[in-house]
């Protein structure tokens, strides 16, 4: 099995490792770095449970290989949580019960934060339909989505009110 040396930043930490060329980013994060907050739901890019940020863009951790992240800046739920970046979004999810089993939540929050950042840049508040559309690549079997839309909508409004 071909192995490749990679060097990257994960949640601000400098990592140098040797990985199998075939290893996905999410397997590398979970199995090699112990970052189990990113979840594996479908392994073919549909469910969004493995959503992480690479160089500022959200990606599917199951559709990107670890070797493709050589030199990249990777951020997982553990990183964006500890930095405080999404504290308001997490609080809204908790208060609104926008998660039940919680398996989709790290990916859902990463996707929602991406939308909220775009909205802040455009100085707009996304509609419920726009929120639904943006999150439509993240599968949640528990909530029926209504509460998630409520939580994201509330944070969008709060952030708009603050700025």
């Amino acid at each position: 099995m071909t192995e490749v040396d990679i060097a990257l930043t994960v949640n601000g930490e400098r990592i140098a490792d040797r990985v199998e060329a075939r290893k996905t980013l999410v397997d590398f994060l979970r199995d090699d770095l112990g970052l189990t907050g990113s979840h594996v739901g479908c392994e073919h890019g549909v469910c969004g449970a493995c959503t992480v940020r690479v160089d500022g863009e959200i990606v599917r951790g199951c559709l990107m290989l670890a070797v493709q992240c050589d030199g990249a800046k990777v951020e997982t739920i553990e990183g964006i949580s500890d930095s405080g970046e999404i504290a308001d979004l997490q609080a809204a999810f908790e208060q609104r019960n926008a998660l039940q089993c919680g398996f989709c939540t790290p990916g859902m929050i990463a996707a929602a934060q991406d939308l909220l950042k775009q909205a802040q840049e455009n100085e707009s508040v996304p509609s419920r339909d726009a929120i639904r559309e943006y999150l439509s690549g993240n599968y949640c079997r528990c909530t029926g989505y209504h509460a998630i839309v409520d939580a994201v909508e509330a944070v969008a409004q709060q952030r708009a009110d603050k700025s």
Binding site: E20, K23, R30, D31, L35, T36, G37, S38, H39, V40, G41, C42, E43, H44, V46, C47, A49, T76, I77, E78, S81, Q90, A92, F93, E94, Q95, R96, N97, L99, Q100, C101, G102, F103, C104, T105, P106, I109, R128, D129, I131, R132, E133, L135, S136, N138, Y139, C140, R141, C142, T143, G144, Y145, H146, A147, V149, D150, A151, E153, A154, Q157
Partner: protein, 798 residues
Amino acid sequence: MKIAEDNPPVLTALDRPNSYIGRSVPRPNLQRLTQGRGQYVSDVSLPRMAHVAYVRSPHAHARIVKIGKAAAEKVPGVIAVVTGAELAKVITPWVGVLTHLKGLKSAPQSAIAVERACWQGEAVCAVVARTRAQAEDACELVEVTYEELPALTDAETALDPKTPVLHASLGDNLCFERKLDAGEVDKAFAESDAIVETTFLFGRHTGVTNEPRSIVADWNEGEQRMTVYQGTQAPHMMQDLFAKHLNLRHDQVRVLTKDVGGSFGIKVHTYADEMATVALSKLLKRPVKFVADRIESFVTDIHARDHRIKAKIGVRTDGTIMAFEIDDLTGIGPYSVYPRTSGIEANQIVGLVGGSYKCPNYRAQARVVFQNKNVMCQYRAVGHPIATAVTEALVEMAAAKIGMDPLEIRRRNLVPDDGYPCAAPSGLKFEQLSHHESLAHLDSMMNYAGLRAEQKKLRSQGIYRGIGFASFIEVTNPSAAFYGVGGARITSMDGATVKLDAQGRISVASGVTEQGQGAEAVLAQTVATSFGVPIEHVRVITGDTDNTPYGGGTWASRAAGIGGEAAWQAGKALRGNVLAVAGAMLQAKPETLDIRSGIVVDAASGTERLPLEELARVAYFRPDTLPAGIQAELIATRHYVPRAWPFAFTNGVQASYLEVDIDTGFVKLLKHCCVEDCGTVINPQLVDEQIRGGVVQGIGAALFEQCLYDERGQMLNGNMADYLVPMAAEMPDIECGHVVSPTADSELGAKGAGEAGTAGAPACVMNAINDALRPLGAAPLTDMPFTPGKILKALGKV
């Protein structure tokens, strides 16, 4: 912005100071999940842990002629390659039958197939290696020689004399049959003014939990003990089954269930590959981990709902429903699933059809047959979505035929709210339901008259909208009547142990499990209220057979109603114990004292007498200062099992408002409403979220989800790109309302709420689509899921 809908209802026996009953308090366990710090079984890693991957049969039915292991065994990292025959030395087979489902039969099922594979996806060989990737690599080198056998895939021909019998020892392909004939059905049909007769088809579908089934089994040869980390709904049930089939005692098996990434009934069954994983750990004397990948999930997670039902209703022109009749046929795969069996779904359908209505005339037949597809068993709302769809579609079709409004025909036939207690023609017993109040509430909540006016106006513009309803009943809080009486070692009881720690805080350990529905919040709310502390002072422990009282776990909407009642009683018992100590310390009669907000107070005046922290300090560290004869008992356990009623039935009604694009066949869901009655509402937010999540699973059944098989028994869409599930963009907002009829069987009065959404949603979406298309003369659609293709076909456009 709808955050924190916090509407305390009028309190009754539960009216304690600082009560949390009826309040939308946030769940205590959410922060670790939003931070990515949950502990799902797929996250568990143990020293010396190996990974197993399974070689699975590519054929629906095949004799296993030979298994060549040599090449796989040579792969670096491979620890063992184990066949079914080899594993059978460690684990015994099982048979999924229940004695109270008379005549139900099945054949022995093995952890890994021995000699014969009976469905595409059945494991035929295990490969254990240091990593999952190595195990999968080696699986490709296992050489299995199969002799393909004829695949029995069509339920319709399963009982034909010329169809081969799947299990020769059983004599035929009939797993279970139930017949029912109540009242005077033929006479009632003869006296009907209109009769509607049609056939319903329900797409076989599955739970698609976001976290696939996962298990880590750790046999400790030194302790002679098995510790199993399992994403399950019923840890004590699994403890019993692992012990039984590995020839161990209960005290040698510990089942630990931490965070579970979705269950919905999928994770309450015995799966051959999970049993095999546990057996492999015993065989290899080290931890072994199995996590199903998504394709494995589709071909091995239980399927459900594959039913063909011929159904008939008779009505009078005044709307009186005269009779119902159904003939149900369902194919459940090659084995009845252990230990809950695959006869329950059909049995529920027979029990539930027509159950909301006064009509006493009802005839039913259900036949459950074997076939070479993946197994079927209980998935959320077992049988309810089918029974409700059949009943409610018949009612609306009959209403249309006699020109009556669909709500009016229900008003004329639903059992009156003052007509309880009563029994359905099928024998199901109802304590107190509220169909009429629920319907009235829904009528105003959705602005029915306004929507009808809008629908009419838009039709003239070529826009086709539909309104559909579904009244339903729901089985919750099951007593031993569900499984125990049939011989299954599945307890219907649950226990709670409440303890005061040395700082005056509380822990509650419960036999129910948290699957994300909020059981831990409910336990914390009930104990905080009945004992008398701020909810932040309560720590909840679930999912550990070593450290929780015996209990059934989470299924059939039992966690709040049964586990919550046990916790409520345990909190009260501990309050009594603590007040006995407080009385001794304060030289007061215990009955004159109470505990409020973590402080012992004078019950009459509310005057603060003693903080619990101080009481705990004295009781734990200075018991010598207590009066002679006073022994502090700062722990209490109580159990609860429903006894007065076999089930605590709930009821409700849903409505769907949608638009059908008659050019493309696409359905746009505009709004969905549900009013339900789950008795005492412990946490309004959690109940609403159970309803919403359940509704969307029901919408999935109505519009998207189906496990497609070809005639050779090959599943054609076993991935999430081809098997469609509801995603955010297609789903509507869902409005919820409540009527409260508590059960008198428990002090809390809470019934379950987990099935209601799923029970009614497919029916009302079907009725709404047919309502939309009725003016176009389309034949009613009765074949779920209602894909654009089927809708265009009904419109004669393709």
